[in-house]
């Protein structure tokens, strides 16, 4: 797992470079390695319905093209991968 801040459930993106860590209440750079409290966010790449097809593209439930970093906070079908 690529545990960088932007993939953490505690991270709220402010812009494409950085975000706000709700836990630590400070700004973190998106691509820097996450801390020991890292918790995977709800994103397609952490969902068991997601299968990777090529870099940055995959399938949702084997039929819809999707990208791994698509947020899934509002997805009722999100099912966390056992390793996610």
């Amino acid at each position: 797992m690529n545990s960088v801040h932007k993939d953490c459930a505690n991270y709220t993106a402010v812009d494409v470079f950085k975000g706000h860590c709700r836990r630590l209440k400070e700004i973190k750079m998106a691509d820097e390695t996450g801390c020991e409290c890292f918790t995977p966010a709800r994103m397609c790449k952490f969902c068991s319905h997601y299968t990777s097809r090529e870099e940055f593209l995959g399938l949702c439930m084997e039929h819809a093209v999707v990208y791994p970093d698509l947020p899934a906070k509002t997805c009722a079908d999100f099912l966390r991968k056992s390793d996610g």
């Binding site: 494409v16 691509d31 593209l57 906070k73 509002t74």
Partner: protein, 902 residues
């Protein structure tokens, strides 16, 4: 009388080795700061600090879900398909709530987020991948992009870095999202508004000329697929009065009434509104859920309480109308974002928001549920939300036309339905927060009427003095005259005309009074709101100096060497022939652009009919028709927009005087001088775009005499009948000829005269002009602003020139002035300033606005942008952060004549 002077080069504190500045009078020795400086509340300051450190970011999330749902529904009725796609996208949009926000919701999950709409135009993205870029250039589609330069600072992502790609030097996109964006773009190929419109516009006779016009940048852009809506006033009435439940219930009843009866489009419209509202409801609920989740993990008690309040409010508003001022403000903001997410829109104005919200505010204040301090905090938070808005469009449009601005104009004053002063205490607080939390959005405008309260006017003067560039000052009476001229045929009355407001930076827009009944006190208030669709549509923007260039060179563009028009057939032996040839080329331009534009907008209304904005605009809900089917109460909103008119007029004056009357040189000699840029380097070579900073070549003396005569020829802005008569002739002809062309809705078009930022981009592609302006330099801004340094007789002479024609014949006129802060200092300065403004508006001027700034400070800011992240300046109809402006516009603002005395 003072005369225009140049500031000495080595003035105290001013950088040395700079060319002189244009001044009327003598400036103080030292750089003068603005008199008034205010600070926002601590909460708003922290939110603004975060904004200052935030980059413009784009997300694929909304277009992904929109496209996915759209593709699933092939064969469905278009407006239903569209509503389902919108519902899916709104329902899925990730909610983000940032610390200390009192108002929530944004276009994307980013603080300053935006996204492309490939259903309107996808070629921009495809161009990055395959040969479409060259094909697009060949078709004239992207030629404006190639001449647009972005500001380097502020929130623009000017370069790709790490995992972030820079798009158009402005928007940042995460690298992980690029393949999906390209997938989506491919899905829309041949289906987007741009592609479908392009397919059919080629059937217009003279289409090849249209292509040449676009390549030549005589016209800046096609509005049909770039900015199909906007420069209009939103109407918040229905959600405020009925809430989502009430709107859905109304549509259900209407569905039963129209199902199976003729005019079946009504059925689909009502169903589309229901579907879209279900999406909006879920969007609200997602924010409520997010607030609850944040509250669950929050350790700070005060912040936790605020999250709980947000959750409760969003849940309530997901179905019901607002209960109090905070609810109502949140509701207005939410629908503002909803409409901006529906379409690519520039200039969705909240209109007379202080009058719309006043009933709730007054009730809360009377009941001691709200304080002045809390109101200020809420209004500052509102300013930040509007400032966070970004509009994703192509480089040529966002950079060259808009300077990254989104033009949300909030208007104050004007008259009530029964003709009384409409200003109120809440509007005073809107001005107060415009000062304390100085940000570009929403910009403010005062609808000046002789009945407007002195208290509001003096507060507005105080706000203007702070140097934010707002409020703009607009004549209520001139606007009413324009509204009646253009909308009486659609049933407009004098009473209803009073509901007008500014849409976008300066577009006079028709409104209506809607009866609002407040639960709790049972009183009915008539609130103003927009009742006409976009005025960003039509022929936008036509460069008049460029057309004159083509007249002088018989139809051939001197930059591209391409023939744009067939030979005009005039020998140009007289001034009259020059004028007639100009009229001919200008008319040809308008005709072909108008026809092509109508086709593009027809494609827009068929492929992406507006559902949410239609629901809001009276009388779409009552008629069962969307905006594209003329559901709005007033539909004559297409216009013809020009740029560079003052340079055109000055150039014509020079031609008339120097070539045809006094015969100082022949037309051929002048053309040779123009071709050689009067012996100067080009603006691109010097890297500066103002006339005052150009460098001579070794051949300068060859053309010095001709150039000198051109510069000395009569100039607009000096109360000189020679130039002003030409100006009047141009304005009268132009305003009248617009009515010869008809919009998609079979309504006559009208004149629109604002420059936005096109005077920079269009000046950049225009050769030297007979008024002495050098190649590539920026045109005069606005439409009645003098060319920098040429208004030598003072402000009142400028006013006389500007009002030599009837401003109510046009949707607008635009006058920008730069005044040194020392001139309007103190209470006496404020009084003098108000009298100056009054005198212009009483003479029939429609609009005037000011930069209260020392030009030397702007130069310092240009050299040291890091020191000036928060510096605001007025450009044309908008205020923008200095560091986010392109250099051509920065140079032009510096070059404007600075008045040292009034």
């Amino acid at each position: 009388m003072a005369t225009t002077k140049n500031i000495p080069e080595n003035t105290a504190n001013a950088p040395a080795n700079l060319s002189p500045l244009n001044c009327y009078g003598t400036p103080p020795e030292a750089i003068t700061r603005r008199e008034i400086n205010r600070e926002p509340t601590p909460r708003a300051k922290r939110i603004r600090d975060l904004y200052f450190d935030t980059k413009s970011s784009t997300s694929v999330e909304f277009p992904y879900w929109y496209t996915r749902r759209w593709m699933e529904l092939e064969g469905e009725i278009p407006i239903i398909r569209r509503a389902e796609a919108l519902k899916c996208a709104f329902s899925r949009l990730t909610p983000s709530i940032f610390p200390e926000e009192l108002l929530v919701m944004g276009k994307t999950n980013y603080l300053r987020g935006s996204y492309p709409m490939p259903w309107l135009s996808e070629s921009y993205f495809m161009a990055a991948e395959d040969k479409m870029y060259q094909e697009a250039v060949k078709a004239g589609k992207l030629s404006a992009d190639t001449v647009t330069k972005w500001g380097k600072g502020g929130g623009n992502v000017t370069q790709s870095a790490g995992n972030v790609l820079s798009i158009a030097g402005k928007f940042g996109l995460r690298k992980e999202e690029l393949p999906m964006l390209m997938e989506i773009a491919r899905m829309w190929k041949d289906q987007s508004v741009e592609d479908v419109g392009h397919k059919y516009e080629q059937l217009v006779p003279g289409y090849k000329t249209k292509e040449a016009i676009m390549r030549s940048v005589i016209c800046m852009f096609d509005s049909g697929y770039t900015l199909p809506q906007g420069r209009e006033v939103i109407n918040y009435y229905y959600p405020l009065q009925y809430g989502i439940d009430g709107i859905i219930e109304f549509c259900r009843k209407q569905t039963e009434a129209v199902a199976g009866y003729p005019d079946m489009d009504r059925l689909y419209f009502y169903q589309a509104v229901i579907i879209a509202m279900e999406g909006i409801r879920q969007w609200f609920l997602n924010y409520a859920a997010e607030a609850k989740e944040l509250s669950r993990t929050e350790t700070d008690a005060a912040q936790k309480k605020e999250y709980d309040a947000i959750a409760e409010r969003m849940e309530w508003l997901s179905s019901k109308p607002p209960r109090d001022f905070h609810d109502a403000l949140q509701m207005c903001w939410s629908y503002h974002v909803a409409v901006l997410n529906e379409d690519c829109i520039s200039g969705l104005s909240p209109g007379r928001l202080g009058q719309v919200l006043y009933p709730w505010w007054k009730k809360d204040m009377d009941e001691k549920k709200l304080t002045r301090e809390r109101t200020i905090e809420l209004l500052e938070c509102m300013r930040m939300k509007f400032t966070e808005l970004d509009c994703f469009a192509s480089m040529g449009v966002v950079g060259g036309v808009l300077s990254g601005n989104t033009f949300n104009n909030l208007c104050l004053g004007g008259l009530t339905k029964d003709g009384q002063d409409a200003s109120n205490e809440l509007e005073l607080l809107l001005l107060e927060t415009g000062m304390s939390c100085a940000t570009p959005q929403p910009t403010l405008s005062v609808l000046y009427d002789e009945k407007t309260s002195e208290e509001l006017l003096m507060k507005a003067v105080e706000c203007t003095k702070i140097g934010t560039g707002y409020p703009a000052w607009v004549s209520n009476q001139t606007a009413l005259n324009f509204i009646m001229k253009n909308y009486a045929a659609e049933g407009m009355t004098v009473e209803e005309a009073r509901a007008w407001s500014i849409g976008g930076c300066l577009e006079t827009s028709a409104g209506s009074w809607m009866p609002l009944t407040l639960s709790g006190n049972g009183r009915t208030y008539y609130i103003p709101g927009g009742s006409g669709p976009a005025t960003s549509v039509g022929v936008h923007f036509v460069s008049t100096p460029k057309i004159l260039e083509l007249v002088l060179f018989d139809g051939v563009d001197q930059r591209t060497k391409e023939r744009v028009f067939p030979p005009h057939g005039f020998a140009l032996n007289t001034y009259q022939e020059v004028w007639e040839a100009f009229q001919k080329y200008f008319s040809e331009t308008v005709k072909v652009l108008c026809l092509c534009n109508n086709i593009q907008h027809d494609a827009w209304r068929k492929i992406t009919p507006p559902v949410i904005n239609s629901m809001l605009k009276p009388d779409c809900l009552n008629k069962g028709k969307d905006i594209g089917q003329m559901g709005s109460r007033y539909n004559a909103t297409f216009n013809i927009e020009v740029c560079g008119s003052v340079n055109l007029v000055n150039a014509l004056a020079s031609l008339k005087k120097n070539v045809y009357e006094e015969r100082h040189f022949t037309l051929d000699e002048l053309k040779t001088a123009l071709t050689n840029n009067f012996g100067f380097q080009t603006a691109e070579e010097t890297g500066s775009y103002s006339l005052t900073e150009q460098k001579k070549t070794g051949d300068y003396m060859k053309w010095a005499s001709v150039h000198s005569r051109c510069l000395q020829a009569p100039k607009y802005g000096n109360d000189d009948p020679y130039a002003d008569d030409i100006f009047k002739t141009w304005e009268q002809w132009f305003c009248a000829m617009c009515h010869d062309y008809k919009s998609l809705y079979d309504r006559e078009m009208y004149a629109c005269q604002i420059s936005v930022s096109t005077h920079g981009a269009m000046g950049a592609v225009t050769m030297a002009t007979p008024d002495g302006r050098l190649a590539g330099t920026t045109f005069a801004d606005g439409s009645v602003s003098a060319y920098p340094g040429t208004d030598t007789n003072g402000p009142y002479a400028l006013f006389n020139s500007a009002t030599c024609w009837d401003h109510s014949a046009s949707q607008n006129s635009q006058l920008n002035m730069k005044i040194h802060p020392s001139v309007v200092k103190g209470r006496e300065g404020s009084r003098k300033f108000l009298e100056l403004i009054r005198s212009y508006l009483r003479k029939g001027g429609f609009h005037v606005q000011f930069n209260i700034v020392d030009s030397r400070m702007l130069r310092d800011a240009q050299a040291n942008p890091d020191k000036y992240r928060g510096l605001l300046v007025r450009v044309a109809g908008f205020t923008q952060y200095w560091v986010e402006l392109g250099k051509p516009i920065q140079d032009e603002v510096i070059a404007r004549t600075e008045y040292e005395e009034l």
